[in-house]
């Protein structure tokens, strides 16, 4: 009975066990500067969540959201508010031990999900009116939304305002980040191979034909948008609890743009493409740090780099690295010797 649920729970347990193993291994590797590499690995993970979730909106459903950083901010501040003001003080009253550790993990998971839910609700509020209209409205409205959220946070003193919120509990780590990397990949993968995901694709391909086949296009656009925003919120929560610091400047438009570049680079609609592009771009940006130091640059050259990446991409491979295929499709094609 309900063995599909049992199988999924077992799958989650296995993934968790493997991730715990890897995180111990990473902690043990005796290389100088390992802490730095760990930070890069976690950043890659957060960017994968951002890219894969944005790909649901921009790649699968074909809508153009430019406010991913805004939804990230909603999730980040909501979850940090809960842990900083409520969960952490409460945990501090308990005696140290495995019980407290377990409770902390559970509360953190709850805070992340609450942050995701808040971002999802924000996505619904923003998306419902604008997704009824033509496609470009969403781009403009989400762009505006991202800025509004940032300015709003700047002016809320309780959560730090412009100073930022320091002392966010350090609950996030390799395990939690990659746990949600797995979740967002599985969810997105399963969705796109279901009727819901096929409706997203139909909306992207041809709205008039989709409606003629009985697809309520607005409903599915909003659904894709809410799901994507939810995971952006999760990514925000992870970021805050990893850096133990939040600041509205972390969620500027450039952050949304970064996620867009990843999706486009990977190939609109390709989940593995988004993952690949998130890895490549994050590593490249880290490399840029050294370039910046070596040349003694005073400002961050990343916007110039994005522009160059996009221009080259449009010239050389407009469909992105993987097009709308998945990595596996390329191997299958070779093996099968397709027509």
């Amino acid at each position: 009975m309900r063995n599909w649920l049992v199988r999924d729970l077992a799958g989650i347990a296995v993934i968790s066990a493997v991730l715990v193993g890897i995180s111990y291994f990473l902690g043990w590797i005796p290389i100088p500067g390992m802490a730095y590499y760990n930070r890069v690995i976690v950043t890659i993970g957060i960017n994968i969540i951002l890219a894969v979730s944005l790909n649901i909106i921009n790649g699968h459903a074909g809508q153009f959201s430019m406010g991913h950083a805004g939804f990230m901010a909603v999730g980040a501040y909501t979850s940090a508010y809960l842990t900083y003001f409520h969960f952490q003080p409460f945990l501090a009253t308990l005696a140290e031990g495995p019980g407290r550790f377990a409770l902390q993990q559970a509360l953190f998971l709850g805070a992340l999900l609450a942050g995701g839910a808040a971002a999802g609700i924000a996505g619904w509020v923003v998306g419902l009116p604008s997704l009824r209209l033509r496609g470009d409205y969403l781009a403009i409205v989400t762009l505006g939304f991202g800025e509004i959220i940032r300015v709003l946070i700047l002016n809320i003193d309780k959560i730090g305002g412009a100073r930022g919120l320091s002392g966010v509990p350090a609950f996030a780590n390799f395990f939690w980040v990659y746990f949600f990397v797995c979740i967002v990949i599985i969810v997105s993968w399963r969705l796109v191979r279901s009727q819901v995901g096929r409706a997203f694709l139909a909306v992207r391909e041809d709205e008039i034909a989709a409606e003629a086949m009985g697809v309520n296009t607005t409903h599915y656009k909003v659904q894709a948008f809410v799901i994507g925003s939810f995971f952006a919120g999760i990514a925000g929560g992870l970021l805050g609890h990893y850096l133990v610091y939040l600041n509205p400047g972390m969620f500027q438009f450039t952050k949304s743009f970064e996620a867009i570049v990843m999706v486009v680079l990977g190939g609109m609609g390709s989940i593995s493409g988004s993952v690949l592009a998130a890895v490549i771009l994050t590593v490249a940006l880290e490399g840029l740090r050294f370039v910046k130091e070596a040349f003694g640059l005073t400002s961050d050259p990343r916007m110039v780099i994005y522009a160059i990446v996009l221009i080259l991409l449009m010239r050389l491979r407009p469909q992105g690295l993987l097009g709308n295929r998945e990595l596996g499709d390329f191997f299958r094609r070779r093996k099968g010797g397709d027509r």
Partner: protein, 259 residues
């Protein structure tokens, strides 16, 4: 009055600015009828389809699909009432597989949610298995099953038209609306397609409304024909009557090349 007409249009007109594209259009279609809608290019045939399927709202008049007034309904609601269509300028989902195209055709029959999709629940599996089976059956009806996993845009023109019909049939409609399904096909393919349309009607027991601007083509298969010219209905009757009707002949004389 025991059977409801699958389609009933009463006094339907639509104006685009100053142009009355369709004027006082009346048509009732009973279950399993095969009706032709013909007329020269620009007569308003596609516009009639767009009104029947909810793409356009008529300026005047009333449309009922399966007895339900569609005035306030969206296109996707009308599909749920049992009307599925194809497009004159093919609108298959180009970068999706043939299989996915047909599965989306059956969209209104899915009864599982996004949560079922994410959890791969039993409901999800059963529905998907069934959908896959039905989609392959429809594809094989049109000899397309061997290309089920190819992208739709890789199909030749004629096969894309057939794929679009398969996709519409996946909705299990009571009324199938075909907009110039033979456009761009050669004579052999056209004859074959016309026979196939008749076979579909017989097999599924559904009504078909077929747009075609070449009069000869529909004569052989339709039981009833309605002729539009400049948005007005100039004739409506059995094929033999239409063929002899001087007004129809006159309207088509300007298009002698087409006949």
């Amino acid at each position: 009055m025991t059977v409801t007409a699958v389609l009933e249009a009463k006094g339907v007109s639509i104006r685009f600015g100053g142009l009355t594209a369709v004027c006082d259009f009346n048509l009732a279609i009973q279950p399993t009828e095969l009706v032709g809608l013909i007329g020269p290019n620009g007569a308003g045939k596609t516009t009639v389809f767009n009104m029947l399927t909810g793409v356009y709202k008529p300026t005047e008049g009333e449309i009922r699909v399966s007895g339900v007034n569609t005035r306030t309904l969206k296109a996707f609601d009308i599909t749920k009432l049992g009307a599925a269509r194809t497009f004159q300028n093919i609108r298959v989902f180009k970068s999706l597989s043939l299989l996915d195209n047909v599965k989306i055709g059956g969209h209104i029959h899915y009864k599982y949610s996004w949560a079922d999709s994410v959890l791969h629940s039993i409901t999800f599996r059963e529905h998907e298995r069934q959908a896959e089976k039905e989609a392959l059956e429809l594809l094989s009806m049109f000899d397309l099953d061997h290309r089920a996993h190819d992208e739709a845009k890789s199909l030749p023109y004629g096969d894309q038209r057939r794929l679009e019909i398969a996709r519409a049939l996946a909705a299990k409609p009571k009324l199938l609306l075909l907009d110039e399904p033979a456009a761009g096909l050669n004579t052999g393919e056209t004859t074959e397609l016309m026979q196939q349309i008749r076979a579909i009607r017989d097999k599924f027991g559904i009504a078909v409304l077929l747009i075609e601007h070449n009069m000869e083509l529909v004569m052989g298969i339709c039981e009833r024909i309605l002729v539009l010219n400049y948005g007005k209905t100039i004739a409506h009757g059995r094929p033999e009557e239409i063929q002899r009707n001087p007004v129809v002949i006159e309207a088509y004389l300007g298009e002698a090349v087409e006949v």
